[in-house]
Symmetry: D2
Subunit: 450 residues, 4 copies
């Protein structure tokens, strides 16, 4: 997963600031690396490195990054990939028609095949990024028209992608034919913005115009914005964007993320009502659904667990020389709220099951009389190959346990997962989702198991 953003201005030479602030607003989409590339009068300068936006960019760097077109990315390193500088994006390449820079959110199902073909043709690869394959295809196909080359390249590509490509005089976005990953278009003053999520557009003081359509290529240059189509297929937005990935203040394909989660909380209660003293959310992922659950059920919403906001990358994990089991630095229960209570714990999803197990245990140790777990998405049974970093299937608890077995394993008094229909309803009704994690049906053919 990644967060990507691009800005095009006719005359503002300081668009790197927009990218910088926009990346802060997209940081939840990836904490492994951050990067910005910028068109400084035809020369592409850039800075990228491992770390958070605040680690990679100093005042000095941002002041150096002068130019009127820029793109940026925050990136999540998948669990099967080594964290490596070289896989930072944006990628910057030179080819026969000059320089271009590319950043991408998504994953290609036929990455290995495409790369293999290019390598057969003598191409080198210096990263493991799907963006490098796409850049190579563009270079291969670019005769007269860059847009034609991009179209031709993307026709060969299978998978999920939201792309932003920068040249010395244009900014081009493309979204895969199913619209699996989000991509939005906006303006700040007279300048144009592409962004993974609308929250970044809002946060830099811009206005959201519209979603980039599935299969659309949107091109911005000094003549303004225009669109072409790669091809359009059945819409299949990754429903996990609404469940967990996106920021609650973003709109994706006309749905408000907060509302989807709140609705899921309400539906959780409707589908499986129960009495209890309080409703709490697992911090922070379950909070919004817990608020919705509390509203619908009329059971009081209460904070149950404090999350320490100061834990950062330099935090030293507890080891056994201090009583590891008892240490609660990251999360600590609000004992006085918990003790002697029948409580409902709402979380967004269960993947491996380890976190929810620890949380239930913590609440029991804090004196909870009963802990009823409610999950705002169905059991995750399949591993995503389209950009969400779920573990291999053998590590997905719902893949090898029934709901009742999971309940026992996590020591909950009761456990309920929202139905897939309920989640779809919460998400605004069925106008097109990828629900592969839950039902194994993906819009793109899976070529091989990772």
């Amino acid at each position: 997963m990644s967060g990507i953003i691009g800005v095009f201005s006719k005359d503002n030479q300081k668009v790197s600031k927009y990218i910088y602030y926009g990346l802060y607003a997209l940081q939840h989409r990836g904490q492994a690396s951050a990067g910005i590339s910028i068109n400084n009068n035809g020369f592409i300068d850039y800075e990228k490195n491992l770390g958070l936006v605040g680690d990679v960019f100093t005042s000095e760097v941002i002041n150096r990054l002068i130019g009127n077109i820029a793109i940026g990315q925050v990136r999540y390193a998948s669990h099967s990939e080594k964290r490596s500088k070289i896989n930072s994006e944006p990628l910057v390449v030179g080819y026969k028609n000059g320089a271009l820079s590319i950043c991408m959110d998504g994953a290609l199902a036929n990455y290995e095949e495409l790369r293999g073909k290019l390598e057969e043709n003598g191409h080198l690869f210096q990263t493991d990024l799907a963006g490098e394959v796409i850049a190579s295809l563009i270079a291969k196909y670019h005769k007269d028209s860059l847009i034609d080359a991009i179209k031709k390249a993307l026709t060969e590509v299978n998978g999920s992608y939201s792309l932003i490509i920068m040249t010395k005089d244009s900014l081009i976005a493309a979204r895969d034919p199913h619209g699996i990953r989000p991509l939005s278009i906006g303006k700040v003053g007279d300048d144009f913005i592409f962004s993974s999520e609308t929250c970044a557009i809002e946060c830099i003081g811009g206005e959201f115009t519209r979603d980039c359509n599935p299969g659309e290529i949107a091109i911005i240059d000094s003549d303004g914005i225009r669109s072409e189509m790669i091809q359009s297929k059945k819409r299949a937005l990754c429903i996990f964007e609404l469940v967990y990935l996106a920021r609650p203040d973003s709109y994706i394909d006309k749905r408000y993320v907060y509302t989807s989660r709140f609705n899921a909380g309400e539906i959780l209660y409707t589908e499986c009502p129960i009495k209890a003293d309080i409703v709490i959310g697992a911090p922070d992922s379950g909070t919004v659904a817990a608020i919705g659950y509390a509203k619908k059920s009329q059971i009081p919403y209460t904070e149950g667990i404090i999350k320490n906001r100061y834990i950062g990358r330099t935090f030293i994990e507890p080891t056994q020389d201090i009583r590891e089991e008892g240490v609660r630095i990251k999360l600590n229960p609000l004992t006085s709220n918990i003790k002697g209570k029948d409580l409902i714990l709402v979380d967004d999803s269960i993947v491996r099951g380890t976190t929810i197990k620890r949380t239930v245990e913590m609440l029991r140790n804090a004196g909870a009389k009963s802990v009823h777990v409610r999950i705002a998405s169905p059991p995750v049974k399949h591993s995503c190959f389209l950009g969400v970093d779920t573990p291999n299937e053998e590590n997905l608890i719902a893949n090898y346990m029934t709901v009742e077995e999971i309940r026992k394993a996590i020591n909950a008094d009761s456990l309920y997962f929202i139905s897939l229909e309920g989640l779809v309803e919460a998400s605004g009704g069925n106008n097109g989702f990828c629900k592969g994690c839950f039902n194994g049906e993906y819009p793109v053919k899976r070529l091989k198991e990772e």
Copy 2:
């Protein structure tokens, strides 16, 4: 304000880990500097510097800090003080009876007078810390008994203080006769803990035993724990600890902080009921009171503003070259929740009035139909000289404006502050508070205006 913690063990040579994790749990009490000093077989080693706990301590440093007795501090630099390494605590000094280390939360009303007298006697001072004055008095009075010297020193001192003093074989805590600042006692296994707040004891896997009493000196050495009294005066716990300073999961003098804030939210509604569509809290300080308000009023609690959790010390503040007014990196409204709504915004307090004004404006820009502001503490009219870093009185908006004038200034549709009686009731009833910020009545005589 500061957070302090000390651990005494008979045989565990790794108590620095407890201090390290405890400081993470106390980080909200001070972000200017952090420090740990430790007794390594009679030699006092230490590390302290400007920055957060995560900035100051690496694995390497924590592994170097070997010993069985240790103290630590996170410190807030007051607005009138330059941020300076030299004012980091714990202070480590040598004197005729060996070495001692001291850390302190609080402020002395007669600091200047005491320091002046010591200087007349030829003493040097290398910091601006009240702890250095106290250490000097202890060195001056220490003949045979350290405890007698501490008692004699503290008899001369006027103000608020919670102190932890480490020698090569003992750990000593003292709390001022009014108990203005909090101080708690606990155990982790066989080891003893002193801590500003109980949350740090819990977080390191320990158990809270009791509050240190006003005027008490608690001494831990190889014989266990015992107490002596400096003197006891009327209890006067700083009520701001409950309003804002302490962590919601701490108990202070038998009150649970979360509950006090939740109660204040309920009482706010009872004192001044109003109808509206939703209740939101100013993040994060108003959240708990907003939840209480929502419960009592039956108006739905809703998240209204997203706080960006990635903003850290390296964040580059927006300047005018990007449309400053529109940039909303730190806080962004959940537009879809706000638009067209009559809403109640709950915050813990109004000091200068600038933050709440910006928040109201942000909500109006997001489309709020009306914004009713409710404050979970009375108007702050007086500047604290006992350890809370309130600005000078001329900068306190409630000192030069009526409530109605403030309402206009912050552009709220209505504004209500909880009554002082209401706050006291919320805080568990009147068994002893310093309410000086609200009514100007302090338990200690103010010697001069800063």
Copy 3:
């Protein structure tokens, strides 16, 4: 210019240490960036960045770099190139036959042409490194035999190069057909070494075996070492290696660098004898020739200028707010040795003329009665395109001034440059040098002026 080194071991998994220490010994060949790549059981790990060896490599990094084959490089950024991380070497690439890593000392005369052709074929480039062009050619030509591909690639290449290429099971060195840049072969225990200079072999405790021959490809794998030839042309070792570039304790093509410089000093006196009180060297480049001059002339060798050894990359250059003209932080004359003396100042070369001018002025200010300048190489009149970063010809003082004009410009009492014949004699006699900087005759055709 660059320093390169490679080590192949059958079983030692810690060869990164050899590379690390070897790079310290080669640091004089490039201070812009440093890098190591290593074969860890088929996976190529690496670390490279801007800065000195000591800046780029920590204990942690070196301990992470596990493997039995490794290459490393220190690199000088040419004056026409931006200092950029991306141009750090070794380069690591994947292609159809796996991964390879490459580092190179030298410069290609037909770089633009080769890159252009590859780009026409759809290749991307991510750096400005000649090594990337060579890697692309190898990928293009690699059918069955890597060595054949390397030979085919190098046949297309014109210029100076010493290359080290690492695959998952071999280490391959190649030197251009003229042998313009140095490259040596050695052993440490049972492990093989390639290195730009023999000093690195000695410094890691190894033994120098022989020079890599012009046009030779030397291949090391588990079967030992063997050689093939690209083609062999007239030897043309860059004579500047002996004048300035190489470390005095290196042997290059059977010449000892110290001896060449010492001889040049002697010949300088023989060609143009003069009387004076003392001989001093410009630190540090003129020291050895000055010692030779003193020996031959019987005029006492004296230290005349102290060089501050603590000036590093964090040094803040003096600006005008302190009396810039008088500040002598980097170099300070030994006044008492200089005052009232007729002195001979020996330096290795004059390029722009600015440094020698400041040095003469400094000596005059220190009271020198006369300053006679002797240069241990002929006037530099041509700009190198084969790897030595000389400025453009319009900036070469000897290109637009006669010797007498230079003498006046630098305010010397007399000025003498060694003859080209003298330099060749000092360098061991004429068995093959590139003397292009002096006489404009290069072994490779210059394609265009930079």
Copy 4:
């Protein structure tokens, strides 16, 4: 040992730059810590930390250090002291008459006694610095006149010291009655300078005026410079300043350091002539004496060992996993110069004997036919307690071995130490030296063995 410098200006608010550059020129006197304190209109700001000048001071820090009076120090941590930030100087203290800052080169024989007395009086100490004791004495005695207080304080003090004290309107230097440590006075434009060595005055573009006299207190304020006397005793400049400590381009008490070392080389030959092929110096400490030896003996001076100039504080020392014995990163012999030669190796001194032993071994391994060691100071038999960090006496090789035994131990063909008379003659004749390291006669009574 330390290097200290102070600058007083009437109107220049940027004297921190002079201190910064001056500390670079004094860096050889201490590499453990560096610091600057500065008078910014009555407020004393400062920065100090462990590390070299280039590590401690960034542009940002130097630009922050505004003011017209400043002092600075580079400090060596003695082998018996932990390297600790707290022992960085300058020390900054507040006392009844305001603030002062102090830095000191030297050591007090009665430090323990003085500190003990002050502690009996109730004083705290926060460092192990002699300067803190002196500051405490000044605070104790300061009634009306600071100068009287300094005089009274220094009368109680026994030992070696060069002090610079800064107040808000004056700069005061003091040198102990024997003048054991150097201290010089100069001007840069209209501004006054005190400095440990004249090289720092020269390097910042100033002019050396005169040495500060033994027992002198020199006071600079807006009225100019004036002097008072503490008391004057028999001159006893530490002769090791000339042998090793000071920079060769400094004048100390009218002697030029380079000349003293050169003379010692000449006298070494005169006292004990021998034939050989070449003379080399141990880098860098023996170089100047080797040049003198070569001149006198007419045996050619040759460079014999290359010192790697890039080894810094981040260098990873070789461990046994690479063939430790053979690694020669820091020093490498110029084999071609050494092989088959009878050579004379000149060094400044032998302390523990370990370094010279390794050097002789390295030269033998490089093929030297014979190695004759000549030392430009007599055998060091006594441990200094006056500021030179010699090891305890049991570790001084000359304390437990005869010269012949040392020769065998270091495996030299012959070994000769200059006579004490010879060293004194080389140093300009006997007008007052401390020669305690050689003959055990110190100008100050040693109170106890460390």
